[in-house]
Symmetry: D2
Subunit: 327 residues, 4 copies
Amino acid sequence: MLARRFYSSVASKPTIGFVGLGQMGFPMAANLMKKTGSPFVVFDAFPATASKFVENAKDLKAQNQSVSVAATPRDLAAQCDVIVTMLPAGPHVKSVYLDAETGLLAGIKGRNNVLLVDSSTIDVATSKHVAETVGNAGAVMLDAPVSGGTLGAEAGTLTFMVGSPSVTTFNTVKDTILVHMGKNIVHCGTVGNGQVAKICNNMMLGISMVAASETMNLGVRLGMDPKLLAGIINTSSGRCWSTDTYNPCPGVLPNVPASRDYTGGFGTSLMAKDLSLAVSAAHESKSTVTLGAVAHQIYNQVSSQKEFKNKDFSSVYKWLNDNQEKI
Amino acid sequence: MLARRFYSSVASKPTIGFVGLGQMGFPMAANLMKKTGSPFVVFDAFPATASKFVENAKDLKAQNQSVSVAATPRDLAAQCDVIVTMLPAGPHVKSVYLDAETGLLAGIKGRNNVLLVDSSTIDVATSKHVAETVGNAGAVMLDAPVSGGTLGAEAGTLTFMVGSPSVTTFNTVKDTILVHMGKNIVHCGTVGNGQVAKICNNMMLGISMVAASETMNLGVRLGMDPKLLAGIINTSSGRCWSTDTYNPCPGVLPNVPASRDYTGGFGTSLMAKDLSLAVSAAHESKSTVTLGAVAHQIYNQVSSQKEFKNKDFSSVYKWLNDNQEKI
Amino acid sequence: MLARRFYSSVASKPTIGFVGLGQMGFPMAANLMKKTGSPFVVFDAFPATASKFVENAKDLKAQNQSVSVAATPRDLAAQCDVIVTMLPAGPHVKSVYLDAETGLLAGIKGRNNVLLVDSSTIDVATSKHVAETVGNAGAVMLDAPVSGGTLGAEAGTLTFMVGSPSVTTFNTVKDTILVHMGKNIVHCGTVGNGQVAKICNNMMLGISMVAASETMNLGVRLGMDPKLLAGIINTSSGRCWSTDTYNPCPGVLPNVPASRDYTGGFGTSLMAKDLSLAVSAAHESKSTVTLGAVAHQIYNQVSSQKEFKNKDFSSVYKWLNDNQEKI
Amino acid sequence: MLARRFYSSVASKPTIGFVGLGQMGFPMAANLMKKTGSPFVVFDAFPATASKFVENAKDLKAQNQSVSVAATPRDLAAQCDVIVTMLPAGPHVKSVYLDAETGLLAGIKGRNNVLLVDSSTIDVATSKHVAETVGNAGAVMLDAPVSGGTLGAEAGTLTFMVGSPSVTTFNTVKDTILVHMGKNIVHCGTVGNGQVAKICNNMMLGISMVAASETMNLGVRLGMDPKLLAGIINTSSGRCWSTDTYNPCPGVLPNVPASRDYTGGFGTSLMAKDLSLAVSAAHESKSTVTLGAVAHQIYNQVSSQKEFKNKDFSSVYKWLNDNQEKI
């Protein structure tokens, strides 16, 4: 139904708005703009960033694609049919969507066929609260957090985990918007479930990576060859993505951060953030996540150190290794 | 060299000894006896168990295969070319091999072509110490702990993780002995490395299973469908054996303990034991295994409860679920 | 300076407002009203609760002390010189103080000699943010969370941990307000530090109580008499409030919750809440609190169980004891 | 009874033996020798250490006190009425007491009035096993581990935690032996309970110290003055020996290791060892010690680092502080 409303409302190409042009948002917006050819409006808290985005788009403008900067999220919303947001944390999302003076919701008043897609990774409670408020105002908001990092954002190969009120809306958003920024687009159920899926996967991942690091470190210190040990685990019940695809021990796999001094990849601070979201969601829902909480503290500690704060999250192996007696 | 000695010494079929006829040892010994057709000698701390084993073998005896009970490990060793041991813990292994009066070593004095294979899961330090003592006496001991449980023992499909002083010896033992009890036989390096590989894999497994349980429980309590959540994780970076092959949440996978009230499988107490071995080995080698230690405490607690002590180790999911507010 | 403004502005008795008449706030407000004899205005989210408070005060009204209910925090603020708030969590505090339509701040516009005292236990970030906003509007807010439970609230013997912009203001608030509800009133430094002191003390307490429970349980299971063990620890370096004043093992001390089936005292859910605040504050300040995080998960789990959710926080001993093999 | 046997057997002064002249044993033995004036026999695994001990005692020899070195524990036992042992770990105790060729037990054959006192800190299981074996042979062994460190050993102010088969024996050993090396001598119940009391106290202590470090670090990073924070905690429910007597934050207390760069005191490695014993005893007795296990891993990690391995155990505060972002 909404999908029908949506299509009928956009005779030719819908106008697309993008809020949040950070390290992830900038390349995502660039891909979306180029691949859709839609009229495009952007907003960023730093006006210089928004100007730079438009400056970069002058080739497209030369081909008559409209690209402009809005003064506020509200102004942006007033011009757009579809809006994507990519923001650092819950309070930013709340403010960008709901601020009475400058928020997106204020800008779409009366037009209930606007689609809003939030790709930020934020706490489940805020995500559901904002979506509900948007819904009460007659519009539709989906949560669609991503994985794949800046490389995926640039290459347009992100994974989107999408919470959507209906399959039809999911399909509309997937086909007209997300497909231009990502490769793997998964429907996770109702609104908020995109966030749930992401923090669940990333909590599992964070624990597994610490576990893989502890295990590889223990085995090596007890005299095992690391490749041999990884081979045994990878054909046994200890197998996981962190051992068979992204092994944290240098030299075991060729093209992973561990084999290039932990550069590139997914930073320790981002893992600390995602584990914090998981621990908070567990507290809210009265769920126990003991290993999640310990992994969170470990990434808190590792990401606080100068040497590790800009390294890939598999560098927890190196951290263990540096902080122990040589044998 | 040893392999040559071994073969030249056994004109036709070597006499095989088996010490330790418990839940694992009994079916392992039965397979080995039947498939090799070798003269067979057994010993168990409970004479009735050894008698029962021989009683069960009367068909083979009728076909002229010799099967007998020894009074002590020493007496057994005195009659055998190859000896397999399957014992509960380090102190038993130490006593069975090294006791001055009744031990295996006392029984092979002067015959340095006897092969000893210990399939017990014990601490690395004891395993290396016993192997070294055996080696100093001129014989050869390999460690070859198993995974696969009682079902694998009965079906002859165990995995053996083997520490061996040489590839030749490994191949000899594999082809003449282990192949009759297992399917997947892995050379893990020098003596003691079988134990290292096993505790590393099982520490990784224990942590992963708790993590999978925390993750599935959190997601379900936050409103996700468990099959959908498992599907997303299993195609993402959180994927592991505990989510894609042995998922602890009932109903996600059809033929796993979780879907039959956690019966069968690998017991919580066995996981507690293996994690204890890992934590001890970490202490000895001054390695840090924080998640391993927490997982150990969790299995300690779960396996101490009447309801869970005989359940599969994936029942940590049920334990989490039972001990929380209903939503 | 502010103190001077405050006194000069209240010729005789200042009018006092109280927002939040829950299990703690109700008896605190009753003490404050009775002991000051000041004109009194109350607000609660449940109008029936506010009415009941006024009904209870009819004796005082008969003696001409004014006691009334306000329609909103804003209306309350418009009538008061001093306002005390006692609310469940950060979002409530934010809304009661800052809501543009109904908040306290809207009610004191232009009167910059109003004193606001928040006795809620909330997250440090919200506390500082609200105090700063109040300060920017020209008024003064102090944070003054309490310990001592409902018994302390009723007896007027609470401990207040107070963050105040100056010693003078602290003294004013202490002498005119807090002294009527508490016995031990501590200046913890600048605004927000009341919350910091409280969560630091309670994190230390939560960890100590779990530690005392693990220790007493271990010793008893290894054969020690619990009183003897407690006596040894209490004269040694393991001594703490949780062992020498509030021992969690039944029978060791006479007048503690442990010796009356863990009734009364400080509930497991409140400890879970305070540990959650500590873990969040640690995340915000990039501090590592590994034991704090594990204790949080343990209280999360314990307080989720029907049997323990209304028990004193020392019942973690019973929880350990119930969940283990009998010896 | 034993006490009577003991006294009647030693007409004048009993001959005392001391095995294990390490950093603790050497000054303990020196005090015992000087204060009793008894004939003295020593043994150490390093003959040079034993010789040095005798060399140091030449003044006493000049006054006709007999001081000599025995070739083995067995030879020592053959000459002594009372024997004190101070050894690094369980295996050493087992070997020194029970070795068939060279052990103490072999040296006291037939003389069932010899008293043996083991002051080593070892695992409970070994302690009980050795005591039982000694008892079966007709002699009596007490466990009497100490706290107080090398300073206490030198000053003769150690605390002894004593497991003894009877109060009479405890009193005999206390009055004739332990009082010369220590100040606080506590009867903890039956044999083995000295070890239990010690590991329980030290587990409580290790957890408390990590907790105090996390708490002080968190409070300081949130803006509290450390002395003020310590003062508040020390008069509240978070109070413990690690905050009020041995605070790990530099500058809070004057005469503690924290205020002299963590020199002196009780080393991180010793705490790692004691926590390891506690975790093992918990495993043996199927007790859960989650915080104990995490504290163990933390001390494992800290004591493995060059910078901390020779520092006092309160340096975990500095470790936390070094490994985090500066604020």
